[in-house]
């Protein structure tokens, strides 16, 4: 080994160690536990079994939970993309003053100064039966019975997700858009493209990296959530992770671990698909 390679091994060693200790080892443990047997009231019994996986895969509940999670993920992905893209577009191309743009960008982060829980709960007085929207609609005579589907429904779950996660779409898209050379846009217009054509043929393709990264954030956040869905649906909807949470309540670590491994595989597959569409690494060094 030359001196140079030894030095570079030494340089990557700390990161490798940290990753091994706090990432590889825990995940390996989860995988190991997922093959152990569960005994009621005792917890983990160290005998090898495939029962956890067979139980999960053969249970319609698992499929129902995953289906509902995927449904939420797709809806939220589309909404956060549409909203996030246009907010970023506005900030980058319509606000001419850089200071104002940065100011507005920071404005978007204000909700993040409070906790997740506060941001979720604050929807209740707005969406509730006796909430702001229902009261306004009833007093203006548009409806005479409060709309029940505003709160404790799939609708309120999506509202909360979009509110919580759009920022994760805005930031990476903003970042890619800000790096687009404005003269490209002028060139496109000079070449006869209309406004929409510029967005579709120039801006959108050049933001691919940002969109991919944003999508990755949103997908992992929604797929891994059980709290927002429980609070905002009033416990009426579940997610893949809420199945894990329920198993932990009776110390069923093996099945919870098996479920976590399944979830991990699915999220990794989605991530792989996203990276297949966009070579994020190449785009980032561009």
């Amino acid at each position: 080994m030359t001196k140079k390679t030894a030095a570079s091994y030494l340089q990557v060693a700390p990161l490798t160690l940290v990753l091994a200790m706090f990432f590889v080892v825990p995940i390996a443990l989860v995988v190991v536990v997922s093959f152990f047997r569960y005994q009621m009231l005792v917890g983990i019994v160290r005998t090898f079994t495939l029962k956890n996986y067979i139980d999960l895969l053969s249970s319609p509940t698992t499929w129902a939970l995953y289906l509902s999670t995927v449904k939420f993920t797709l809806i939220v992905l589309v909404l956060t993309f549409v909203i996030g893209f246009w907010i970023a577009y506005f900030l980058v191309f319509h606000v001419r003053n850089l200071v104002v743009a940065i100011g507005l960008f920071l404005l978007c982060t204000i909700p993040f100064w409070t906790s997740n829980i506060i941001r979720m709960i604050s929807w209740r007085p707005i969406l509730g039966k006796e909430g702001l929207i229902n009261n306004a609609l009833i007093h203006t005579g548009i409806i005479d019975q409060p709309l029940n589907w505003l709160l404790y429904s799939d609708f309120s779950v999506v509202v909360a997700y979009v509110h919580l996660f759009t920022m994760f779409m805005i930031v990476p898209i903003f970042n890619s858009m800000a790096r687009i050379d404005k003269s490209l846009l002028e060139a496109a217009i000079d070449a006869g493209a209309n406004r929409w054509g510029v967005v579709w043929n120039v801006v959108l393709p050049l933001c691919k990296t940002g969109i991919a990264l944003g999508a990755l954030f949103v997908v992992t956040l929604v797929m891994g959530d059980f709290f927002v869905v429980t609070v905002m649906s009033g416990g009426l909807s579940g997610s893949a992770t809420s199945g894990i949470f329920n198993d932990l309540q009776i110390l069923n670590y093996p099945r919870a671990a098996a479920n976590a491994v399944l979830l991990l595989i699915i999220v990794l597959l989605i991530a792989a698909a996203i990276f297949r569409l966009v070579d994020v690494r190449k785009e980032l060094v561009r």
């Binding site: 009621m40 319609p60 509940t61 939970l65 006796e130 029940n148 009426l236 309540q249 110390l251 069923n252």
Partner: protein, 427 residues
């Protein structure tokens, strides 16, 4: 003047403590009270349990009376089981619900507590110590306290069939649960558990999302409505559970439930905001709604109550002077202050004698004797909950506990229940 008063209080309570702890102090500890007083100052006891019983005020008062530090930490039901299974050394006093002892005791993470060191043992409610109440045997459906309190010997981590000199936990607080209603919004009197699933309250009912408790409320309701029958609601079979969850899913799909609540504050919000008019509820949540000036009744029902109780266990790693402090704390817990405090949130202390003594005549009459209040009744934190003339829902202490139909429990089929409950959640 106030200062001398405080000092005097401290001296008196210290003396009372020393008297009470004499057995403990003489047998294991150094003996000399001055040394004891100095070393005990450095002790910190961590008391961990659920939000409804682990109250910061209790820790503060204990610290004042006992002279050592009490740290109160709140977890939820699964949180306590998980902590005790994975990190028992982080807890000294384990404040568990009776059914949780079924999981924790066999794991051998708790001390066998010597009954002889619990000074007021004879005064504690026979509901726990004898399995009787007001001279009659209490319901054995579900996890009745008497089935889990005693252990054979100090070092055998299990449950004794009969009375012994060692216990797994010292009785603490308990209550009989029923449905909470908004009498101003239900539009008719509520008399039966069946009303929880009555079509009259479609879209306005809620049930708790704690599987072990939620299923009990559901079984009470379905049985009362004549829809399902159970051989023993305290220990249903797979078929019975399957049928119950099936009915629950039907109701859920039909839009009967406005929400399922998993935390105490959610149940308060649901009720206070009028989202829900009838739901499973815990007594302090009812009190909390009342303090907002909203009418809320903890409605007694003809089928009886769902009883529950907590116990304080000492975690195995506690030893030496810390163990003595733990015994001091357990003795203090049932010596009156806690009993008076938690009575005002609707709970009962395992030592009714000292608890009653800690209440005013008006409060005692209202909370324990089923008498109309002679003046305003306040919550533990001092807000008004009831006016003069009000009678407590459910009547006297005796009346309530003679009507416990079933106890909160962890049934034999709990694993099946959790799988089924997941289905209900996913439906």
């Amino acid at each position: 003047m106030k200062k001398t008063g405080e000092i005097l209080d401290k001296v008196i309570s210290r003396r009372a403590v020393l008297k009470g702890g004499a057995v403990a102090a003489a047998s294991t500890v150094i003996g000399a009270p001055t040394v004891w007083a100095q070393t005990i100052k450095d002790i910190t006891l961590n008391h961990t349990g659920m939000s409804y019983s682990v109250l910061a005020d209790i820790g503060r008062q204990a610290q004042k009376d006992l002279g050592f530090k009490i740290e109160m930490s709140v977890v939820d039901h699964p949180g306590l089981l998980n902590r005790m299974a994975n990190d028992p050394n982080s807890i000294d006093i384990c404040d568990m619900e009776i059914w949780q002892s079924k999981v924790l005791v066999p794991q051998d993470v708790l001390h066998g507590i010597e009954v002889s060191k619990i000074k007021a043992w004879g005064d504690l409610t026979p509901l726990y110590t004898e399995g009787t109440f007001a001279g009659k045997e209490v319901s054995r459906e579900g996890d009745s306290p008497i089935k889990f309190i005693y252990r054979e010997a100090k070092d055998t981590a299990g449950f004794a069939k009969s009375k012994t000199d060692f216990v797994n936990f010292v009785p603490s607080v308990f209550n009989a649960d029923t449905l909470g209603i908004r009498p101003d919004l239900t539009g008719r009197p509520i008399t039966s558990w069946a009303d929880l699933i009555s079509p009259d309250f479609k879209g306005k009912a809620a049930i708790q999302n704690v599987p072990t408790n939620g299923i009990m409320d559901a079984m009470m309701a379905f049985e009362a409505a004549g829809i399902l029958k159970y051989a023993d609601k305290g220990n249903p079979t797979q078929e019975e559970l399957g049928a119950t969850i099936g009915k629950l899913i039907e109701l859920k799909k039909g839009g009967h439930f406005r929400a399922l609540w998993s935390t105490f504050d959610e149940s308060i919000n649901l009720m206070a905001s009028g989202e829900v008019v009838i739901q499973s509820m815990w007594s302090p949540a009812v009190t909390a709604v009342q303090t907002q000036g909203i009418k809320c009744t903890y409605q007694p029902l003809k089928e009886g109550y769902r009883g529950w109780g907590n116990g304080l266990g000492i975690v195995s790693h506690v030893d030496g002077i810390k163990l003595d402090a733990a015994y001091e704390y357990l003795n203090w817990y049932n010596s009156g202050w806690v009993g008076g405090f938690i009575a005002k949130q609707g709970y009962y202390s395992a030592n009714p004698k000292t608890a009653k003594a800690a209440l005013s005549d008006n409060e005692r009459g209202f909370f324990y004797e089923g008498k109309p209040a002679t003046a305003d009744i306040t919550s533990p934190t001092g807000q008004k909950t009831n006016s003069a003339g009000d009678v407590r829902d459910g009547g006297s202490f005796e009346e309530r506990f003679s009507k416990v139909a079933v106890w909160n429990n962890l049934m034999d089929q709990a694993e099946y229940l959790y799988a089924k409950w997941n289905e209900f959640n996913a439906a």
